[in-house]
């Protein structure tokens, strides 16, 4: 036990957790902590809005598989974090958010900048805690990191009253933390593996769907080995992008509302569908009854409460995906040694040669071609983030991802404005690889002020703005299902992105041909300032394929016409 100031104990606790970067904005209740940070080696990255800080921490966490830390002051600072911690939570990303709080003696009196952030954040975090005495700081920090980063990962919020940081207490920096109600062993049961393996081995048309859980567990090698052993075509969910290399001959790509022709055609035909680390989002399954109507679904997930939640399974394996896949592989190899290639050869029916497609339509560059050009220019380990909407679906369909943790998107909450700050967090995590945010103008507008952060922190990310001056996905629905009645989608007041970037001290360029685009991407990769590449695209361009709302995989429309 050591007598120490709360603020000092807080900083020391973060250092003990191995924190190197903190994303946030200061404020009244955080002054003692920020003062203490001056004497620490941890780098404070000053966002321009707390939502951005939370997304930066989230992007950082997803890239490094390490807890991302964000801080905000009490009241509005804390409420501004809410979208960020909700986004991280639903995508199982380990983020710990610290919020300042008013002094303990005025909590509950509607003091200046007071907000009951514990009440507000309860539904959108994995766990939250309020520090009640200075001495509780080390233990609370340790608990927060532990909960955020174990089991099914997620976000944890810790609320710290200001006077707990300005007063001293007896500090124990090696507290024993234990939770009777928190499951800590994620070893799958051998019997569940036996049953699952027997069903898989008997399959004639096995198919695997990889979700974000494969990436969370670091189970790509095991997944590839199992797919190859079964000759099972392998689809991925949006969160599972990167779990299975998309240049692998067995890869089908994205499944769901905007799934590839290969995925959406073969998933319903599989006689055994092994789903790994996925929560069967409605965007993945489309109409549940048509998802895999005649087959057997086998589900591996670390979170027991996901089993049978949205889709009924014949058998389950609860536990860590890496251990589960390794266990299945071992058993399947014994049970089955000559899988037929007839089924997996069907993937060939769906191969599409995009190099033969035109670069432009209606006088604009086509978004899929822009993203494919980007893919060719970036190294395999480059990191891509996306915004939400058309840009996100085009990126998911056309940016082939080869390695886990190189493609990041707000899959669950669908938070517009996520990708750009997340890319800043990603660049702070991995400064040596190119980091690109594939954006739309609508999403970029929501967090573009963080350009100031990217410039001053010398984090030269690249933002590709697929610019159609419209909230594209909503407009697409209005075009297809609302008789072209465009309401509340036209962004006539968009800024000139070249000038905007320059105003912040970043580089800005506009490209209207693929050759220009390639040249500017190459230049941006080497640049030491952030670059915004404005790429005007056709406001009438649709993301295809698409499943109309309420219908199933078999109803996928492959082309807009």
């Amino acid at each position: 036990m050591t007598e120490m100031l709360g603020s000092k104990a807080f900083v020391k606790s973060l250092e003990n957790e191995g924190v190197k970067h903190i994303f946030g904005i200061s404020g009244g209740s955080l002054i003692p902590i920020c003062d203490e940070l001056l004497d620490s080696d941890m780098r404070f990255i000053l966002a321009r809005h707390e939502q951005g800080a939370a997304h930066m921490a989230d992007g950082y966490a997803r890239v490094l598989n390490k807890v991302g830390v964000c801080v905000a002051t009490s009241g509005p600072g804390a409420t501004n974090l809410v979208t960020g911690v909700a986004t991280a939570q639903i995508d199982s990303s380990p983020v710990v958010a610290f919020t300042g709080q008013v002094n303990r003696n005025v909590i509950g009196t509607d003091a200046f900048q007071e907000c009951d952030i514990i009440g507000v954040s309860a539904s959108v975090t994995k766990y939250n805690m309020q520090v009640r005495t200075p001495s509780e700081i080390p233990e609370t920090v340790k608990k927060a990191f532990y909960i955020a980063n174990t089991g099914r990962k997620g976000s944890v919020l810790v609320d710290i009253p200001k006077d707990c940081t300005t007063l001293s207490g007896e500090m124990d920096f090696n507290p024993q933390i234990k939770f009777r109600g928190y499951e800590m062993d994620h070893t799958p049961k051998p019997q569940e593996l036996d049953w699952a393996a027997q069903i898989l081995a008997k399959a004639e048309r096995p198919l695997i769907m990889a979700g974000g859980g494969v990436i969370a567990a670091g189970a790509t090698n095991e997944l590839v080995a199992l797919s190859e052993a079964l000759l099972a075509p392998t689809a991925n969910t949006l969160m599972g992008k990167g779990a299975f290399p998309e240049d692998h001959p067995l890869s089908l790509g994205l499944c769901g509302m905007h799934g590839t022709q290969a995925s959406n055609s073969l998933v319903p035909q599989a006689d055994v569908l092994l789903v790994v680390g996925s929560r069967f989002s409605d965007r993945t399954t489309a109409k549940v009854a048509d998802f895999n109507p005649n087959g057997k679904v086998v589900h591996i997930d670390i979170d027991r409460s996901e089993i049978d939640k949205n889709v009924e399974t014949v058998t389950k394996v609860v536990g860590d995906a890496k251990m589960a896949l390794a266990g299945l592989l071992e058993r399947v190899k014994v049970l089955k040694n000559n899988p037929s290639a007839e089924w997996s050869n069907r993937i060939q029916e769906f191969r599409h040669d995009w190099s033969k497609e035109a670069d432009t339509a209606n006088g604009y560059l086509r978004a899929p071609k822009v993203i494919r050009a980007l893919r060719e220019l970036l190294p395999r380990d480059a990191i891509v983030t996306t915004e939400v909407g058309q840009n996100q679906m085009w990126a998911a369909l056309h940016y082939d991802t080869y390695l886990p943790r190189t493609f990041h998107t707000s899959g669950g909450l669908g938070t517009m404005g996520w990708g750009f700050p997340a890319s800043i967090g990603a660049k702070a995590a991995k400064p040596d690889v190119p980091v690109v945010d594939i954006a739309g103008d609508g999403s970029f507008g929501m967090t573009e002020n963080n350009l100031a952060t990217a410039v001053e922190e010398e984090l030269p990310v690249i933002v590709v703005v697929l610019n159609n001056n419209v909230l594209g996905m909503v407009a697409q629905w209005q075009r297809l299902f609302y008789d072209r009645r465009y309401s509340a989608v036209k962004l006539k007041g968009n800024p000139d992105y070249v000038k905007l970037a320059e105003a912040y001290g970043a580089a800005g360029v506009r490209t209207t041909t693929l050759d220009d685009f390639r040249r500017e991407v190459k230049r941006a990769i080497k640049a030491d300032v952030p670059t915004v590449i404005d790429v005007p695209i056709d406001p009438d361009e649709n993301v295809m394929p698409m499943i109309p709302p309420g219908l199933g995989l078999k109803d996928t429309l492959w082309r807009a016409d």
């Binding site: 009440g119 309860a122 539904s123 766990y127 909960i147 939770f179 109600g181 027991r304 049978d308």
Partner: protein, 163 residues
Amino acid sequence: MAIHTVSFLVENKAGVLFNVTNLFRRRGFNIESIAVGTVQDPKYSRMTISVDADAKTLANLVEQLEKMVEVIKVKRLDPLRTIQREMLLVKLSTQDPIAREDALKYINNQHGLVLDIDDDNIMAEVTGYPGELDEFLEYVKSIGIVELSRTGITALEKGRLKL
């Protein structure tokens, strides 16, 4: 849909009740009754909640509860293997001598206790399984209920079974 009773052990600290009821709210369950109190080890509390739900959503709710950090153990109680009890305090209007006599009779039949009595009212404590209390209230309705308060169902499993 049917009434199910779920009993679970939680950490005895501020905010746990909020988090539990918040989960029920998020999943769209209306809590029919809730009873909470500490157990032999004061670090823990036992909550007993009755909800109107179909079996499948209830099963998922139990898993969601189990996932909560502060929740230690959850069990859906099988009504055939469980003793369920609820207590009721009721104040009856008994100015009329016949009403007073009827009230005392019903209270007595239900093995209730008269806790307070004056010229106008009788306050009684009645315990029973939830259906019994409903029946009792049905009887005394005609006498005139001034006010009442129910504790919510509490329950323990029979014999060797335990949470």
